[in-house]
């Protein structure tokens, strides 16, 4: 219970601080953020957008790990964990895409411009979508678990290719990408300590949030599953 209150306070603090702390030319107080040329007020999205994108990747990774475990041990609990993680990943993926697109409208002038990161998140969205389409088309739970696990692993091995080919095929606009001359690696150099503090607190807060949601989600899937069995058997 205590850590739930702690998490609540942490996320509240991040939300308030991330939005309300002023951006000034030469930050002096601990609650002032520096002005990053080319980003200005838009820079504040980093506290909300980056954690969602980070969790999209973490959720995908966890989903693949548990899919792999399912194939090894054939334990349906692992499949429930993989599925719960994929569901959360899908939610965070949509959030990251939407927040990114809104930000891009103000920073780049268009909601969508096939920047490498936009393309990559789009590919992830497609993978998640395909996974759910596959799951919903199979009746037998064992078959569903096996086939979706196989598909997760298959999709996972294609991801590294995106990292290699994207920068070659399209120009990067995203802050922190190789072609980005304007802002440079934002996280490392241009944030002052207060901005970094809020940023990493936000990452930590969102990660805890993910694990908490994931736990509730897979436990409820397993319980619902067992309840269904019980009702059918009388």
């Amino acid at each position: 219970m205590i850590w739930k209150i702690f998490l609540f306070l942490l996320i509240s603090f991040i939300s308030v601080a991330g939005i309300a702390f002023p951006i000034v030319e030469n930050p002096e107080s601990w609650y002032e953020f520096p002005n990053i040329p080319g980003l200005e007020e838009n820079a504040k999205i980093i506290f909300f957008h980056v954690p969602t994108a980070w969790l999209t990747v973490i959720a995908f990774l966890m989903s693949t790990v548990f899919s792999f475990k399912y194939l090894k041990n054939k334990n349906l609990d692992d499949d429930a964990k993989a599925y719960a993680s994929a569901q959360l990943g899908m939610i965070f993926c949509i959030l990251a895409t939407v927040t990114g697109a809104v930000w891009a409208k103000f920073a780049w002038g268009a909601f969508w411009s096939w920047d490498p990161r936009q393309t990559s998140i789009f590919a992830l969205l497609l993978i998640y979508g395909a996974l759910f389409a596959l799951r919903s088309s199979i009746e037998s739970e064992e078959k569903r678990a096996t086939l979706s696990s196989v598909y997760s692993v298959l999709a996972f091995v294609t991801v590294p290719f995106f990292i290699f080919i994207m920068p070659r095929i399209m120009k990067g606009l995203h802050p922190g990408s190789a072609d980005d001359t304007g802002a440079g690696p934002v996280v490392n150099f241009q944030m002052n300590s207060s901005m970094q503090l809020i940023f990493f607190l936000s990452l930590i807060g969102f990660t805890i949030l993910y694990f908490w949601m994931w736990q509730i989600s897979y436990k409820s899937i397993i319980i619902r599953d067992k309840l269904n069995k019980h009702l059918i058997r009388g």
Partner: protein, 209 residues
């Protein structure tokens, strides 16, 4: 007399979260007829599929040995003859072509004399150049036995062998079972009294729930 043995070690199978059976142990050596019985849905077909290596058990192991050498799963299919109601042969090919194709895919030489002999025994020789799709269900069932026997397997698994067969067909099946039981292990999964009468040992799946 073959030196073949098949052994089950604490076999468990669950589908999803539903238990089918648990704790099955047996060991059959050399030759003989063994039966598996149980009411519908007790997992007879599942058990024979596990024995044939078509699906894996949830827990436990099934071990096939030939002269004390364990057969690896990749090679198992050439030691097993399998008949089941779910088995379907390639309907766009003739009976003869089917047998020929199976031998080439198994990478063993096609024993033409044996094929002719089997076709004769199951009263299909006159129809050997007809497409399987023109066969009646009884003829298809008899054809499955030829499919199961053509590669001289050491282990024969018959799942409901006499369904769809008339008296004449049943007799040729019983004849072949008696004949082959001298040199190979035969496992019959069935509820038919007449089928089970042939068996020296019967495993009742009711007791493994």
């Amino acid at each position: 007399m073959s030196k073949y043995s098949v052994e089950a070690n604490e076999l468990n199978k669950t589908f999803g979260r539903r238990l089918i059976f648990h704790g099955i142990n047996f060991r059959y050596d050399d030759s003989g007829v063994f039966g598996i019985s149980g009411p519908n849905g007790s997992g007879k077909s599942t058990l024979v599929k596990i024995i044939a290596g078509l699906i894996s058990p949830t827990k436990g192991r099934i071990i096939h040995k030939n002269s004390d050498d364990e057969i690896i799963p990749e090679k198992l299919h050439n030691h097993i003859g399998f008949v089941s109601p779910y088995l379907v042969l390639y309907e766009e090919f003739t009976a003869w072509e089917n047998l020929n194709i199976f031998s080439t895919i198994r990478d063993i030489s096609f024993d033409k004399d044996y094929a002719k002999d089997l076709l004769n025994r199951f009263l299909l020789y006159n129809r050997k150049d007809d497409f399987i799709k023109t066969y009646s269900s009884g003829m298809k069932q008899r054809m499955k036995f030829i499919f199961a026997l053509i590669h001289h397997p050491e282990l024969l698994i018959f799942d409901e062998p006499t369904s769809n067969l008339d008296e004449e067909g049943k007799n040729s099946v019983y004849e072949i079972i008696e004949d082959k039981s001298k040199e190979s292990i035969i496992i019959i999964a069935s509820n038919d009294k007449a089928d089970l009468n042939l068996c020296t040992e019967i495993l009742d799946l009711k007791t493994f729930k």
